[in-house]
């Protein structure tokens, strides 16, 4: 076993509390899938909460078994001496509300009916995701929290900083935005349409069927992938290369088509179409600017230092959107560092450009390094 192949396990926390959602509806018996890495100190002030993007899960680091080929989705960032250094920090990663990776979502059993929720699951928001995460953080008795996230994870980090200034003293927002652009909403809307129009969607009640809305979900994922890569990345990765020769039919001709089809195909094995609907809706709805009048006012609620990282080739969550946050934070009198990283990888860069992110995050976290308990 490689010294770096540390084993981790997804655990489950069940909250007895009812959660009042932004929609006005109530959820109960919520289960939260989570993993932790490193140790919580006596002061309970060395915790980092990692918030994930649209389709990830609680398994952010390490391996579930020695046979696993791939580690958790942000393993390059979490571990001893890594950006989120588990020699110093207690790192928590949990699956979001509405997901399909262990935390309560539309594929979970509705306690009232003993069958999967399907579309009886209430529409949830980023705020609701944070409410659920707060239950887990409280369970550990955490006094001080660093929150970090990329893409949708960044939105959760923003919400944490606004909603819980008493414990969130450090916030790191990567490749994210305070609210989606009209274009990003448009892409999500088309993706949802593809799922809802799938012949096997059946109003979201497909869990007991042999057929699931895989085609629609695959199309949604393909649309997503186009937005995650920038045109430069697509060009250098695929160009106009043919898989073989022009087929003169409607099969897969170009490498870029082959890539997208593959991404769509493998995605349906690991993700639930209803979760895709619910989570993209949460993305669309999040808007602290409208809620607080201005982004400046939103950030005035916080009592946190901020690190904002964007990638120059990210056209989904652009550097300009990050700069808007930086300007609002400055106006709100908050301590903010901002770095725009050069990368050819588009929005995906936060899952690829580990070296620069590590340097920047390590340096940023130095300032308020918690006390580590003696061994």
């Amino acid at each position: 076993m490689s010294p770096e192949k540390f084993l981790t396990k997804t655990k489950y926390f069940k909250s007895e509390d009812e959660i009042l959602l932004e929609s006005g509806k109530v959820l109960k018996n919520i289960e939260i899938a989570y993993e932790t890495y490193g140790n919580l100190n006596k002061n309970k002030d060395n915790a980092i909460l990692v918030c994930h993007a649209l389709t990830a899960d609680a398994h952010a680091a390490g391996y579930h078994s020695l046979n696993d080929k791939k580690p958790g989705w942000w393993d390059a960032m979490i571990g001893p001496n890594k950006a989120l250094d588990t020699n110093k920090y207690f790192v928590i990663s949990s699956n979001v509300l509405g997901g399909c990776k262990g935390t309560t979502g539309p594929c979970s059993i509705n306690p009232d009916t003993k069958t999967p929720y399907g579309h009886d699951f209430p529409v949830i928001t980023i705020e609701d995701m944070v409410k659920v995460q707060k239950k887990l953080v409280d369970f550990f008795g955490i006094k001080k929290l660093i929150v970090i996230g990329g893409s949708m994870g960044g939105m959760q980090a923003i919400e944490w900083s606004i909603k819980h200034p008493d414990i969130v003293k450090t916030t790191i927002v990567i490749a994210s935005t305070a609210r989606l652009s009209a274009q990003a909403i448009a892409f999500n809307a088309v993706a949802r349409n593809a799922i809802i129009q799938d012949k096997y969607f059946n109003g979201g009640n497909y869990y007991n069927s042999c057929n699931t809305p895989d085609y629609g979900l695959a199309i949604a994922r393909m649309i997503g992938h186009i937005t995650y890569l920038c045109e430069e990345a697509m060009h250098s990765k695929f160009g106009r290369d043919f898989k073989s020769a022009p087929s003169f039919d409607f099969g897969v001709d170009f490498q870029v088509e082959s890539y997208l089809e593959y991404q769509g195909r493998i995605f349906v094995d690991r993700f639930d179409a209803n979760s895709y609907l619910y989570i993209t809706k949460a993305l669309d709805y999040y808007d602290p600017i409208t809620k607080f009048g201005t982004l400046e006012n939103a950030f005035r609620q916080s009592d946190s230092r901020f690190l904002i990282i964007s990638f120059d080739s990210d056209w989904l969550f652009t550097s300009n959107q990050s700069k808007e946050m930086v300007n609002a934070l400055i106006k709100a009198g908050r301590d903010v560092s901002y770095v725009e990283l050069k990368s050819p990888c588009g929005h995906d860069a936060f899952l690829i450009e580990y070296e620069n992110q590590t340097k920047i995050i390590k340096n940023f976290l130095k300032k308020d390094c918690p006390k580590i308990d003696a061994a």
Copy 2:
């Protein structure tokens, strides 16, 4: 009747010739839907061929009836004293091969089977579209031709200039490119997937069915519309405005969703899903750079003056792609004028920004104004 409401009519030309397609297959009994505006002079050297984009038709100018609310799709550009001045020029507009607006395409009757072609229709290319247009141009005995087109129409114009240097002496390429980017191919691939996976697609044989693949075609159109507008245009047009209040369900929430759904819905009434497949495939395949080794070599085949117009906010067919053409034309020793117009309208600008296009095109055409016959 307004003096500007001139009546036009779509006519049909039937070619007896067999057309050898790029795929190696042969098409026969091709019918071409076309309209003409203005008069052909005795020298037959005052003709302009207008080439249309993905979903347009032969009806480019005027009204088919006094009751029509809308004129042809480029009416603002075609008519007396307009950019394409019908007092001077004989303007021809025809529906492309593979279309569904009168020219032979997958919804036409296959003369061999007496039923609609469906997917027995061969895959066609931009080159094939031009071969068919050439039959029409020859029918009029045209000696000298100006070719103009926006978007896919620009590709046809490029192909005309390369293939028929004997008659094409002036070429105007607007919001176009010599070949699609990997990203544009990717969007087309996802659009085709949405159509092919529609529950009513039935392998393309749906013409005798009560149900047609409308959902898939609508999704394809929605994807298209996102790419036609730039993010700035979407932002200023819709922002994050709600239709009413958040629905907390999966209906239409935002104005931008409402716009896209509407565009998808009305599109299926006027377009055939198979044509969408065939024409996007033709777009993907067109690549004179690969065919001739370099774009410079491709343009060396031509004997035409060129006007290239791009729009700064067009992210589908970018200004950089236009500049590549300009550079290649200069290297090839061709006379080229290039204008990048500022517009907030994205790719759609060629169908919106008439004033500036008119000025530039009128000025460009002055140089080789044909002799008009005495009345």
